[in-house]
Symmetry: D2
Subunit: 132 residues, 4 copies
């Protein structure tokens, strides 16, 4: 299991007229969480794309427990429980002051430039084998 913790401050642009954060605005935060998890295991997502591989989102789910508001500091706990093969699954817990406000997961498939599914590239599996 690999875990990474990130924080983000809520932007005004991320709120909606309900006075709270718009539900789709959480998705870039999850992305921040996995960007950091990848960096910490030694494979930045930029370097993945530069090698001609992509990791598009094939499935995503979010459950919203409590609202987040402008200027809140969100703590994002990103967890990868299983090693990558053709897909990777990441789980997310979002907190404000240690109170769980939302949970979610995302599933990603490795593809080549033309969008064809491929196995996890070697640089990736090696880095993850070490991290697990």
């Amino acid at each position: 299991m690999i875990t990474s913790v990130s924080t983000v401050e809520v932007r005004y642009s991320e709120t909606d007229m309900m006075g709270i954060v718009y539900h789709a605005s959480y998705l870039p935060w999850l992305e921040l969480g996995r960007t950091n998890l990848l960096k910490e295991t030694g494979v930045s997502y930029s370097s993945i794309e530069q090698s001609g591989f992509f990791l598009p989102v094939v499935e995503i789910q979010m459950k919203y427990r409590r609202p987040a508001t402008y200027d809140d500091t969100i703590t994002i706990k990103t967890t990868m429980k299983e090693k990558a093969c053709t897909k990777i699954r990441l789980e997310y817990e979002l907190y404000i002051n240690e109170v769980l406000i939302a949970t979610g997961y995302s599933i990603h498939a490795f593809t080549n430039k033309s969008g064809q599914p491929i196995k996890a590239p070697r640089q990736f599996t090696e880095a993850f084998n070490q991290a697990f």
Copy 2:
């Protein structure tokens, strides 16, 4: 069961550097789908909020089958299978030229202005009883 069909043209702003639509950009399309479904049953979402009720998203899921690209026309089929009580669940199918590209669902809770869960307001249940 209530069904509503909407269409939307993909905006440049909705794409990302992968050359396709960013996964979070689909969520406002689902919202367009449910906005129209509500209007067609005679209860616009604006009027719900003006009456002091809200319908925040409490859960959302999307499965992405095929990419969407700039200038594509997306057809959004929104379905409500069960009558509203304290929550409503909507299901979505997204098509390009009759090819299914993504599916998803959203669950919403009725709340008052202070965010407390409430039963579906009367104007809402009556309109939906008629539509079902």
Copy 3:
């Protein structure tokens, strides 16, 4: 002079906690305006990129006179006053029910794939010469 008129319905996602449309949410509407203006002169922006040319924004300005709110219908009047050479300039007027709510302009430069400035490609100048 070439003019094009488009309409767009305000999305919930485009509002912020002030209860009105977030100022940056207007920019994709301008894009919609110029996408349609280009299509109407016979050169879709998709086809420009497919030919290996790009039209990145090099300058943008917006003046906001009156707020826009959720579910409003915005009319976007896009005008091109001068023929394209190495740059194009577009002007925008946004209306709700014939009341002017915002004005703006955008300036775009023609570039090749590596971002180098180039002259307007021929397919483009010919189409515009005809339209003017």
Copy 4:
């Protein structure tokens, strides 16, 4: 003159199919810059809204010199050259590794809850008088 320096990492969601940051994605960065400038002078924007005042954007301009890409670190230099009266004007310079990539300004008007223009609230002018 008051100056504040912030940094932000480019998110994947902020890019578009041109492979670079979408022009509207810069606007929330400017907001980050002014949020921090306000905090540093002792008046958080949250507290302004909680006192019943708002600072909507009435005009914005951006000039883009060089593209920004995913994972870049952007330095935002926000400057307020004149004291607030009924409006405030902020200027922005954006850098990547000390290279200027974009400049811009925003003008904001003080309003009350119903959107009527008002003079800068006292808590605001006092804090700024001290900072200048």
